[in-house]
C-alpha cells in the first residue's frame, strides 16, 4: 500500500496531474459518527461543496435537527444552531427574520420533519419563508433503533412494525415534498437521492439552485434526499441502495415536484 501511495505522489510532482476532486474545506477534518455508507454523510459533503463553490461560508447559517444528524454542527464549518425536536423550521424562521440577507437552511430527517415537526414545516411553507429545507428521507427512525416512521413504505418490517407496515392499521406513507408543493408559499420542491455518482451530481445541482433561489425572496425551497439506512434496514450499504431503488423510488420518484417558471426567475 505504501509503495502505491508513493508512486501517486511522484507522478503528481511531475505537474502532469491536476487535482479534480478533493474533500471540501468547509467539511471539518473529523470522523463523522454516521454508519458506513449512510446518505447523511454524502449530503453533508455535497452541502459543504456548494458552500465552498458559491463562497458563502460566512453568509450561511444552518439549523441542526434532532435525529441521526443532531451532531451536524460538529462536522460543518459554518454557523449552526441546534433546534428542539421538529422545530428547526421555526428556529430558521426566526434566524431569517433577524438576518434576512443570510443563507439559511435546515437539515432534517424524516422523524424530525415528517413526524413531530409536521405542523412547523407546513406552516413555514404556507407563510412562504425564505429558507431552504434539506429533508433526508430514509423511511425509518435510524437513531433510536429502526422504528417505523410516517414515511416507511407499506410492507416494510421495522422494530415497531414486525409484520410489515399495514395500511389498514398504520396508515399510508406521507409524501411531504408533494404536500408542500401544493402550497403557494413553496417556490421550489424537488426530490433527489445520493446513491450513485449520477444521482449525487443531480442532487448537487438541485441544492445549488435552492441556495441561489434564496436571493430572489420568492418562498420556501425544499430538497428531499431519498436516502438509505444500512443499519436500520439491516443490509450492507450497497444492498441498502439497491433496496432503496426497488422499494423507495416507486413511492418517492426523483425529480422536480414544483419547479419555478422562467417568469418567476426573471421578475
Amino acid at each position: 500500500m505504501s509503495t502505491q501511495q508513493d508512486l501517486i505522489c511522484e507522478q503528481i510532482d511531475n505537474i502532469k496531474m491536476a487535482k479534480v476532486y478533493e474533500r471540501p474545506d468547509s467539511l471539518l477534518d473529523v470522523r463523522m459518527h454516521y454508519c458506513p455508507g449512510c446518505g447523511h454523510t454524502t449530503t453533508h459533503k455535497i452541502l459543504m461543496e456548494i458552500v465552498d463553490e458559491l463562497q458563502i461560508k460566512n453568509e450561511v447559517i444552518g439549523v441542526a435537527p434532532v435525529g441521526c444528524s443532531v451532531l451536524a454542527y460538529d462536522y460543518l464549518d459554518i454557523d449552526m444552531q441546534q433546534a428542539a425536536h421538529g422545530r428547526a423550521t421555526a428556529v430558521a424562521t426566526g434566524i431569517k427574520a433577524v438576518q434576512p440577507d443570510k443563507y439559511v437552511f435546515t437539515y432534517q430527517g424524516d422523524g424530525d420533519l415528517a413526524a413531530i415537526g409536521t405542523a412547523e414545516t407546513i406552516h413555514s411553507a404556507n407563510r412562504g419563508e425564505n429558507f431552504l429545507i434539506v429533508f433526508i428521507n430514509n423511511g425509518i427512525y435510524g437513531m433510536t433503533g429502526g422504528q417505523m416512521a410516517p414515511t416507511t413504505p407499506i410492507g416494510e418490517k421495522t422494530a415497531t412494525s414486525p409484520y410489515g407496515r399495514d395500511r389498514a392499521t398504520m396508515g399510508a406513507p406521507i409524501d411531504i415534498t408533494g404536500l408542500l408543493a401544493q402550497l403557494p408559499g413553496t417556490f421550489y420542491a424537488t426530490r433527489q437521492s445520493v446513491h450513485d455518482a449520477k444521482a449525487v451530481r443531480k442532487a448537487k445541482k438541485a441544492l445549488t439552485k435552492a441556495f441561489q433561489y434564496q436571493k430572489l425572496n420568492k418562498g420556501l425551497c425544499i430538497v428531499e434526499i431519498v436516502s438509505n439506512c444500512p443499519s436500520g434496514w439491516k443490509l450492507t450499504p450497497y444492498e441498502s441502495n439497491q433496496w432503496m431503488i426497488e422499494h423507495m423510488m416507486s413511492l418517492y420518484p426523483p425529480g422536480d415536484v414544483k419547479a419555478p417558471s422562467k417568469e418567476d426567475l426573471q421578475s
Partner: protein, 98 residues
C-alpha cells in the same frame, strides 16, 4: 484518443469500508484491502493502474476520503464535472456567476 490517466489517493484512516466506491468504479480499479485500519474497517485500495480520473468514486464516497487527480494534456485545464452546475440559469449572486 487514448483515455486520460487518473490517480486516486485514499485516506485509509477515514475510510469506513462501505464499498460504494468499488461498485461505482467503471474501471474496477479499486478493491477492499485484506488489512484493517485503526478503526477496524477494511479500506479501499487501488488494485489496477487503470484509473481515468472520472471522480465517480469520490462523488459517492460518503466520508470524502478520496482525492482524484487527472492528467492534463497540452494547455487544457481539466474541469471537475461537479462544478458545472449553473447551466443556462440567469441568476447571479452579488453580481457574480458562481
Amino acid at each position: 484518443m487514448a483515455k486520460l490517466k487518473g490517480e486516486v489517493k485514499i485516506a485509509i484512516e477515514t475510510c469506513k469500508g462501505c464499498e460504494l466506491c468499488i461498485h461505482e468504479c467503471p474501471q474496477d480499479t479499486l478493491v477492499m484491502s485484506e488489512e484493517l485500519n485503526q478503526r477496524g474497517y477494511h479500506y479501499a485500495v487501488v488494485a489496477v493502474d487503470n484509473c481515468t480520473g472520472c471522480t465517480n468514486c469520490a462523488l459517492v464516497c460518503p466520508d470524502a476520503c478520496i482525492t482524484v487527480y487527472r492528467e492534463v494534456r497540452g494547455k487544457k485545464q481539466p474541469i471537475a464535472q461537479i462544478s458545472n452546475v449553473t447551466e443556462d440559469m440567469t441568476i447571479t449572486i452579488d453580481g457574480r456567476q458562481p
